[in-house]
């Protein structure tokens, strides 16, 4: 076994995105920032390459796939590629190393999240959001190894294949992140600007009870909070009715959707102290990256101070590509007097359209 197959998130080598993929490198940066990140390791691209060594041509079935390929044909071709990949990886030293690393992490019964971390994803300018797989609440060495292999195989889901057709690039190398599950009382996403208007003085956060996956996949309406990055104010709270939450079961691995007790359904799932903590860590991450970020987080049960864990962060790709909003509108920069004149002569029509984005 090569030591670079398994790279701990506490290992500086995890900063190498070519080795650990975009997500892995992002997590490493958070660890280096002293942000709270669930313990874990990355099954590196070197491990992936080793597992695939000597395998037949995985992409043989995809040769004839093009932009006009009918969906069912695409599905079949992708399925054959995945099967080839799973077959090639099933035996061998690499997954054995994964099983050992899992057991060494916190013990053989620990529940982990297994997430794909492709090279090139999550980079500024291109978001492969949701194009690769994530497995939650996985327990036991065998199940973890299996989830890792399925993450590898997710390089060849029909959507990933067709995404690459549009966005370009080859399947490349896939790393996989294995991290201890946070028992989430609440979880969500944040963005260090307001995606609705490009306001860079805000952090917008959406959150739900339980695990964040139903929110990320857009299945539920979350609570929405708008926080002022500079003053720390909670500018807006839009509280949704949240009848269900995704959670773990004690009996078996995996997740279930459970009912939220009636008294909690229309209650904010994050309190002011948690929002303040999230704001602080979001600001730290943004400052470190030097560009607006979005990210996922979870509040470890039962909530309260020092319980916010970052699950991933990445550069925001839409507004960051544009100049920050203008303070002076079409009038451009000038003296205070010219700014006063612009204010006093602005008509209603201009008011409605003075938009820096």
């Amino acid at each position: 076994m090569s030591p670079s197959w398994i790279v701990g998130l506490d290992d500086p080598a995890a900063a190498d995105a070519a080795l650990v993929g975009g997500k892995g490198a992002g997590l490493r940066r958070l660890v280096a920032l002293d942000a709270r990140v669930p313990t874990g390791f990355v099954v590196s691209t070197a491990a992936f390459a080793a597992a695939m060594e000597g395998a037949e041509d995985l992409e043989a079935s995809l040769r004839d796939v093009g932009p006009d390929t009918p969906l069912d044909v695409l599905e079949q071709a992708a399925g054959r590629a995945r099967a080839a990949l799973l077959g090639a990886s099933r035996s061998g030293l690499v997954l054995e190393a994964v099983r050992e690393a899992y057991t060494a992490l916190v013990g053989p019964d620990t529940r982990v999240a297994v997430r794909s971390s492709a090279v090139g994803e999550d980079a500024a300018g291109a978001s492969f959001a949701g194009e690769h797989d994530t497995y939650l609440e996985i327990r036991g060495p065998g199940a973890v190894a299996d989830a890792v292999a399925r993450c590898w195989a997710s390089l060849y889901t029909a959507r990933a294949v067709s995404y690459r057709q549009r966005a370009g690039g080859d399947a490349g190398a896939m790393a996989v992140v294995v991290q201890e599950m946070v028992t989430a009382r609440a979880a969500g996403v944040f963005m260090t600007l307001n995606p609705a208007n490009g306001d860079r003085s805000t952090v917008v956060c959406e959150a739900v009870w339980g695990l964040g996956e139903p929110l990320v996949s857009g299945e539920v309406t979350p609570d929405r909070f708008v926080l002022d990055k500079i003053s720390g104010e909670i500018l807006r709270r839009e509280i949704a009715v949240k009848p269900t939450r995704m959670t773990r079961t004690d009996e078996r691995p995996g997740t279930v959707v459970a009912e939220v007790p009636p008294e909690d359904r229309d209650r904010p799932c994050l309190d002011d102290a948690e929002l303040a903590e999230l704001l602080a860590v979001a600001r730290r991450v943004e400052r470190d990256a030097g560009t607006p970020q979005d990210g996922e987080f979870a509040v470890a049960d039962p909530g309260g101070p020092s319980r916010i864990h970052l699950l991933q962060t990445r550069p925001e790709t839409v507004w960051s590509a544009r100049a920050p909003r203008s303070a002076t509108g079409a009038t451009g920069a000038g003296s205070a007097l010219s700014a006063v004149l612009a204010t006093l002569t602005r008509t209603t029509r201009q008011e409605g359209s003075d938009h820096g984005g």
């Binding site: 307001n194 208007n197 306001d199 860079r200 003085s201 805000t202 708008v226 002022d228 990055k229 500079i230 003053s231 104010e233 909670i234 500018l235 807006r236 100049a323 920050p324 909003r325 203008s326 303070a327 002076t328 509108g329 920069a333 000038g334 003296s335 205070a336 007097l337 010219s338 700014a339 006063v340 004149l341 612009a342 204010t343 006093l344 002569t345 602005r346 008509t347 209603t348 008011e351 003075d354 820096g356």
Partner: protein, 607 residues
């Protein structure tokens, strides 16, 4: 069902018992049939910010001062590009106003002129403000020096031996004119700097909103405010006096004695007490020349100043003594406020495009410069000048009553100022010829009737607005000063507004729950319990000490720049301002939730 317009001013019924109210006000302040076609097309709103109560005929002068001066400086002196003046009418004793927009085709030409004229002021702001203070203080001294005494049986000897050449009767006529004219003159100065100051302040607001659409008004205000200004001095003096009382070992006596007169008498009986009373008296002039109107200070002749009623500032001193005894600090955290101001300013600035940072700095510097005036003029004019004007008016009314022109001094305030000039002439003529004034007999039935009318008018609940609402309200001064926006007006029109929910402007952030305490007169302030939600027409700087006790404030009138909003932000208390009708809707004791971030008050339990 939402109506699409407010009642026509020409169709507002006269309350029972108030028939003939029109005689109490000058004709030019009334809706007249000859102007119906024009005035019925205009949107008028009740100016409860400056005039929350029925106007006494004499107090109409207060409205006239700003009607003319604001108008002239906007329209004629500085050529404020979008806005002319604010027109006024009185309906059933309440003041309604309508901002007059400049014709759109004139705006460009006005802007060019404004750039030159206001630019001249902006460039020299601090020096002009220094001159301003000097000339306003001179006016203050002028009216302080006026004396209105009953006319003497025989002229003082100096009239003869110093060849004065005129009589005390003439001087009474002259000095009343001087009193009125000096007040008018001061109002010119009031608007000399105010609206161009607001224009700069608004510009900074607009800039922040353009770059940061989500930014709160509070954050913008914090970047500008936090300066050490004289407006806070009266309250600071009370804090100082509380500390002095502790140093002199007087805390217990001051706390134990309810009534100011007996307290001062008791304190004078020993050296330490006498020292403190002497300190109090030195401080009182000018720092306790503070009007106590609930709302814009100085608007009415009926409210005492701190100096008139020492029980009001004494209540504050007792509160500070209590907090000192608890070991809590009573000093305003000025350094923290300033440090926070600098921190957030740097934070927002850093997020701006680099090319705009110089404009931001320049505009912020101007906004901070003008803001000192925006705050301090309230002390110099709304408090000192008006308090002195009303005090001199009371002095005159006592002199006229003593001479038999009126049955009692308060009668004078039921006459319009032109009628007061007539009364003075009548009184002086009677004195001059060695007879009695005719006034008491002449005015008696008129004043008696006006007292009835006044009482009937006070029972009337004025509609928030009259006439057709504009599609949008974006005239910057209306929005900023009165807190009136397109959505406020829409809310007024909704007759099916949400039960148990009051909406206003988010004045100061935070959410709290607590029991309501409705306060409409400063005499009710001592009843406030710690943790109460203060519900009032508006607050006045003279109420400052209650902000140490209340959990939140809800006001009927005011925008983000109102006193309530400014003070609550400073004290870190949630505030919802400009709700329109909190005083008439909420009851003392009722539990409510105040969301100062959203501008919403929710009734938690009906009473």
């Amino acid at each position: 069902m939402a109506a699409d317009r407010f009642p026509s001013p020409f169709e507002v019924p006269t309350p029972d018992g108030a028939e003939g109210w029109e005689s109490m006000y000058d004709w030019y302040h009334l809706f007249g049939p000859e102007r119906r076609e024009l005035d019925e097309q205009r949107f008028w709103f009740a100016d409860r910010l400056h005039h929350p109560d029925v106007l006494h005929p004499y107090d109409e002068i207060q409205c006239e001062c700003w009607w003319q001066a604001l108008g002239a400086f906007n329209t004629r002196v500085f050529a404020m590009p979008p806005a002319f003046g604010v027109d006024q009418r009185i309906v059933n004793g309440r003041l309604y106003v309508t901002p007059v927009p400049a014709p759109p085709e004139d705006i460009a030409a006005r802007a060019e002129e404004f750039g030159k004229r206001a630019g001249h002021y902006y460039e020299r702001w601090d020096a002009i403000y220094d001159e301003w203070r000097t000339k306003v203080m001179a006016k203050l001294e002028e009216i302080r020096a006026l004396r209105f005494d009953p006319l003497p049986d025989l002229e003082p000897e100096e009239t003869v031996y110093q060849h004065t050449g005129h009589s005390a009767g003439f001087r009474m006529i002259r000095d009343f004119d001087r009193l009125v004219l000096t007040m008018y003159e001061t109002y010119q100065y009031h608007f000399e700097l105010l609206n161009i100051g607001y224009a700069a302040y608004l510009t900074f607001f607009g800039m922040c909103r353009a770059a940061f659409p989500d930014i709160s008004d509070q954050s913008i205000s914090r970047m500008v405010g936090g300066l050490r200004v004289d407006l806070y001095r009266p309250d600071d003096e009370l804090k100082r006096l509380a500390k002095e009382a502790v140093r002199l070992g007087l805390a217990e006596r001051i706390t134990a004695t309810e009534d100011a007169a007996s307290l001062f008498a008791d304190l004078r009986s020993d050296a330490a007490g006498a020292e403190w009373v002497a300190d109090w008296e030195r401080t009182a002039d000018p720092w306790f020349l503070i009007n106590t109107d609930p709302g814009h200070p100085g608007g009415y002749h009926t409210y005492p100043t701190w100096a008139d009623d020492p029980n009001i500032p004494l209540a504050s001193v007792r509160e500070y003594l209590r907090r000192l005894a608890d070991g809590t600090t009573i000093d305003r955290p000025t350094d923290e406020v300033l440090a926070e101001r600098d921190r957030i300013t740097a934070g927002y600035r850093e997020l701006l495009p680099e090319a705009e940072r110089a404009t931001f700095d320049d505009t912020l510097a101007l906004a901070r410069q003008v803001f000192v005036y925006i705050e301090e003029h309230v002390l110099y004019i709304e408090h000192w000048m008006w308090a002195t004007f009303w005090a001199k008016s009371h002095e005159l009314s006592r002199a006229l009553a003593a001479m038999g022109e009126f049955d009692e001094p308060e009668d004078m305030f039921f006459l319009r100022r032109y009628e007061v000039a007539e009364a003075i002439y009548d009184c002086v003529a009677g004195w001059s010829v060695g007879s009695r004034p005719r006034g008491a007999d002449y005015w008696r039935p008129i004043i008696a009737r006006r007292r009835e009318i006044y009482t009937a008018l006070r029972a009337w609940e004025p509609p928030p607005a009259l006439g057709p609402p504009p599609t949008t309200i974006d005239e910057p001064f209306t929005v900023m000063l009165w807190g009136i926006t397109t959505s406020t007006v829409a809310e007024w029109l909704r007759s099916d507004s949400e039960e148990g929910v009051l909406r206003g402007t988010a004045g100061s952030p935070g959410v709290v729950e607590g029991p309501v305490r409705v306060v409409t007169h400063p005499s009710e302030l001592p009843s406030i319990e710690p943790g109460d939600i203060l519900v009032c027409p508006a607050t006045s700087p003279s109420w400052a000490p209650v902000f140490g006790r209340v959990a939140a404030t809800v006001s009927d009138v005011g925008g983000i720049m109102s006193h309530t909003a400014i003070v609550c932000r400073e004290y870190g208390l949630p505030a919802v301002v400009g709700t329109g009708n909190a005083v008439s809707t909420l009851r003392t004791g009722q539990r409510v939730r105040v969301d100062g971030s959203a501008g919403v008050v929710t009734v938690l339990e009906p009473v």
